[in-house]
């Protein structure tokens, strides 16, 4: 094919060990643009609404998208998707590194896994050779250890993704690890892999990827390479990755500290980007085709503990496993990052769950007896090490925390739901929303729970007024369309906005690759279509009005920020309701948060409207009709 699509997809029935090669359907890609879009459609169509996420009917999908591997800057991503055991809705998570491109170089666009393997297996792909191989001697190994062993056994030039013991044991926020430190962290994709007894995917390929107009693509990409080489923003990104704005978050009172109790960490200087680079850095590490090399390969050195190597910690992990846990040493944060990586758990949910457990311990809701004689003190890397072992093995109360902070708080009670910092079951990213209402709304309305990659509004909130909710809803809607496009195209978002590569330029590259003549507007509408589909999927699975699931934990409006620059600030419950009302109106959904027939039909999703109607959750018609344009691009006020 000459449109960025490799041409072959695989359907693998793990129950009977059958591998089927099918032709990748260009029409599906044309409509859904690959990655997250194709995943959303397949999950919606094929996973029964009452299917257990850990059962044979859940489908685990690996999709490389169109642009990944095609010489485009930062064209490195691969998307994983399945019905999330953490949120019980559509789940997808992406990761950089080199696996996506390598899958394409082997000739494959997508792998769809169904069923459950009777024994642990790993998928072996070497161009045309595709085998489900016995993984019994790898089962039980850490993610990083397993990748090292597989590379030794198969060849250093294989690209490999693995799960750790946590995924094998069904910890709901388990992740998938690749390239010794890149993760598909969110929504528990590693747990779904583990439930199917799939330990790893190992790929090698030497084919070419055909594109529509290689000359124009090359010319455009070379121009972008040379232009961004000297862009002023490039150097700090290359040196620090995302770690350099830890201090900015702290100064602006959005850095979570002590389980989101407060938003200012006095010891931030001990765990910021400078400390990472000065104390821990081994080398800068890039994904395929990216010269921003935001990855930081580091070592954690703690007296009495083995020296470990890892990729990270980046912003989210420094926030959620650093200030959020009261850690005052960057080596401790790095060590926790390594533990979570090797055990195979998302560092973001991991940090959120540990922090929740620490607050429970602080309040006496769990005791040393529950923790096998250990304490769980803020800032103690040893205490964290012990807890993580209990969680990964689901031992004792580790079992409770293995379900994420939502399920743990339901077991523990004692008012702990208030400070289980999740939405829809997935823990918050490393930004506190109390003095950043757009960010809080972003968490509340993201389809996969409290994750920031759908919409991030802190700069908007600072510029527009942090105590006002005016106009936030429309901006969040716009961001929720543009940001997931990167997960659909399988390229990295860090290039957009950070070094002046515009959506128009990215769409131009897409057209050089595919020849489809896509416009930015069409791409945004496709993204809106995907967004509405995953919303319908969520409502259908959870059988309640959408609004019922869109609330943050009550700390968000009951506890004003107690210290730091944000002291005394916080949103009110009324503001939360107001934001939701405006958000649904902006989306063409009704007051219950349910998509209406008008908006679904406008997006070509008649079947979804019919399904919602059958269940009784189709949105009631809005007086005045749906807005013709949903979402509004943020334009900074003139100064």
């Amino acid at each position: 094919m000459n449109n960025g699509i490799a041409g072959t997809s695989l359907r693998i029935n793990l129950t009977i060990g059958e591998i089927e090669r099918i032709e990748s359907d260009e029409e599906v890609y044309r409509r859904w643009h690959g990655g997250r879009g194709v995943i959303a459609k397949i999950l919606y169509d094929e996973v029964p609404r009452d299917a257990d996420p850990f059962g044979p009917e859940n489908i685990f999908i690996v999709n490389v998208g169109i642009m990944s591997g095609c010489f485009i800057p930062a064209g490195s991503k691969v998307e994983f998707g399945s019905v999330s055991p953490l949120t019980n809705g559509h789940g997808d998570s992406n990761m950089g590194g080199h696996l996506g491109p390598m899958l394409k170089f082997a000739g494959y666009d997508m792998i769809i896994f169904t069923g459950i393997s009777p024994k642990p297996v790993y998928l072996y792909i070497d161009n045309d050779t595709i085998e489900l191989r016995d993984a019994s001697r790898y089962w039980g190994m850490g993610s990083l250890d397993c990748e090292k062993q597989l590379k030794k056994d198969l060849g250093e030039d294989f690209e490999i993704a693995t799960i750790g013991p946590a995924g094998e044991n069904g910890v709901l926020f388990s992740c998938i690890t690749h390239d010794f430190g890149r993760q598909a962290g969110r929504t528990g994709q590693g747990a779904v892999m583990g439930s199917k007894k799939l330990k790893a995917i190992a790929v090698r390929g030497n084919r070419s990827i055909g594109v529509y107009d290689l000359e124009s693509l090359k010319k455009q990409v070379m121009e972008i390479i040379l232009r961004t080489k000297t862009h002023p923003n490039m150097e700090p990104w290359q040196k620090y990755g995302t770690s350099f704005f830890i201090k900015w978050s702290n100064d602006n009172a959005v850095l979570p500290a002590y389980n989101f109790q407060t938003t200012y960490f006095n010891d931030v200087g001990k765990i910021d980007g400078d400390q990472l680079v000065e104390q821990c850095l081994i080398s800068h590490k890039a994904c395929f085709g990216c010269w921003m090399n935001c990855g930081k390969y580091t070592k954690a050195v703690i007296p009495g503990k083995p020296i470990v190597h890892l990729e990270g910690p980046e912003y989210e992990t420094i926030a959620l496993c650093g200030s959020n846990l009261g850690m005052k040493d960057i080596n401790h944060v790095a060590y926790i990052n390594w533990m979570l990586d090797n055990l195979g758990m998302d560092t973001m949910s991991g940090g959120g769950v540990i922090a929740f457990a620490m607050e429970c311990f602080e309040r006496g809701l769990i005791t040393e007896k529950d923790l096998e004689g250990h304490t769980l003190r803020w800032g103690s890397v040893d205490d964290v090490e012990h807890l993580l072992d209990m969680v990964a093995r689901r031992r004792g109360i580790g079992e409770w925390f293995a379900g994420g902070s939502k399920r743990a708080s339901e077991k523990i009670g004692g008012g702990s739901e208030k400070f289980a910092m999740h939405v829809k079951g997935q823990e918050m990213s490393g930004y506190d929303g109390r003095w950043s209402p757009g960010m809080l709304l972003s968490y509340m309305t993201a389809d996969i729970g409290a994750h920031h990659n759908r919409s991030w509004t802190i700069t908007v909130d600072i510029a527009e007024g942090r105590e006002s909710v005016e106009g936030r809803a429309k901006i969040v809607v716009y961001l929720q369309h543009i940001r997931p496009l990167f997960d659909t195209w399988c390229i990295c978002r860090l290039f957009w906005g950070e070094v002046d590569v515009t959506p128009e330029e990215i769409v131009e590259s897409l057209n050089h690759i595919t020849g489809w003549g896509v416009t930015v507007d069409e791409a945004l509408r496709t993204s809106e279509m995907i967004w509405n589909l995953t919303r319908c999927h969520y409502i259908e699975r959870n059988r309640d009005n959408g609004r019922a699931f869109d609330y943050p934990p009550s700390r968000s409006w009951e506890d004003k920020i107690p210290s730091g620059p944000g002291k005394g600030k916080g949103v009110t419950r009324d503001q939360i309701e107001q934001m939701l009302d405006e958000y649904y109106a902006a989306r063409g959904w009704d007051k219950n948060g349910n998509p209406t027939r008008e908006v679904l039909e406008d997006l070509g999703l008649v079947f979804a409207a019919d399904n919602l109607e059958k269940l009784g959750f189709l949105g009631k018609p809005i007086p005045g009709g749906i807005p013709p344009v949903r979402g509004e691009k943020y334009k900074p006020k003139a100064f």
Binding site: F71, S283, H309
Partner: protein, 138 residues
């Protein structure tokens, strides 16, 4: 004209491999590049690029006399004469002579320098002898 490797600066982005294949084969395929990157993880945690050093062993060993050095020092493969026997692949001390299942000849770097243009970190750079050193040699 030579290529100098500053090994510790490589980040593994593989842009060099991509541009090399695009330049020489009009294809996106890192396995058709004339250089390679070794990933050394978890220990020491670095990427090592390997590029032709113009040692000439490939030309010495070629039974068909298909490899000859040109005026800029690059060892050029005569695609008609090359029988793809692989002797040069085996003898290259740096492991930068490549074969590919699509091709009937080997791949050796022709020093077009595109890789040095895309490398953003200075891991792969153009290197020429200074005027003084050239004079000394003459």
């Amino acid at each position: 004209m030579r290529i100098k490797i500053n090994r510790d600066m490589c980040t593994g982005c593989r842009l060099c491999l991509q541009i090399c294949a695009i330049e020489h084969f009009s294809e996106i395929n890192p396995k058709k590049a004339a250089l390679r990157i070794e990933a050394k993880f978890p220990d020491p945690g670095k990427y090592w690029p390997f590029v032709c050093t113009q040692c000439g062993k490939c030309a010495e060993v070629c039974p068909e006399d298909a490899i000859n050095q040109n005026e800029i020092g690059a060892y050029i493969v005569d695609k008609e004469r090359c029988t793809n026997c692989g002797e040069c692949v085996a003898v290259c001390p740096v492991g930068v002579v490549f074969q590919h299942s699509d091709l009937e000849h080997v791949i050796i770097c022709d020093f077009c320098m595109r890789c040095t243009e895309v490398c953003n970190t200075g891991a792969i750079v153009k290197w020429e002898k200074t005027a003084a050193a050239k004079e000394k040699e003459a």
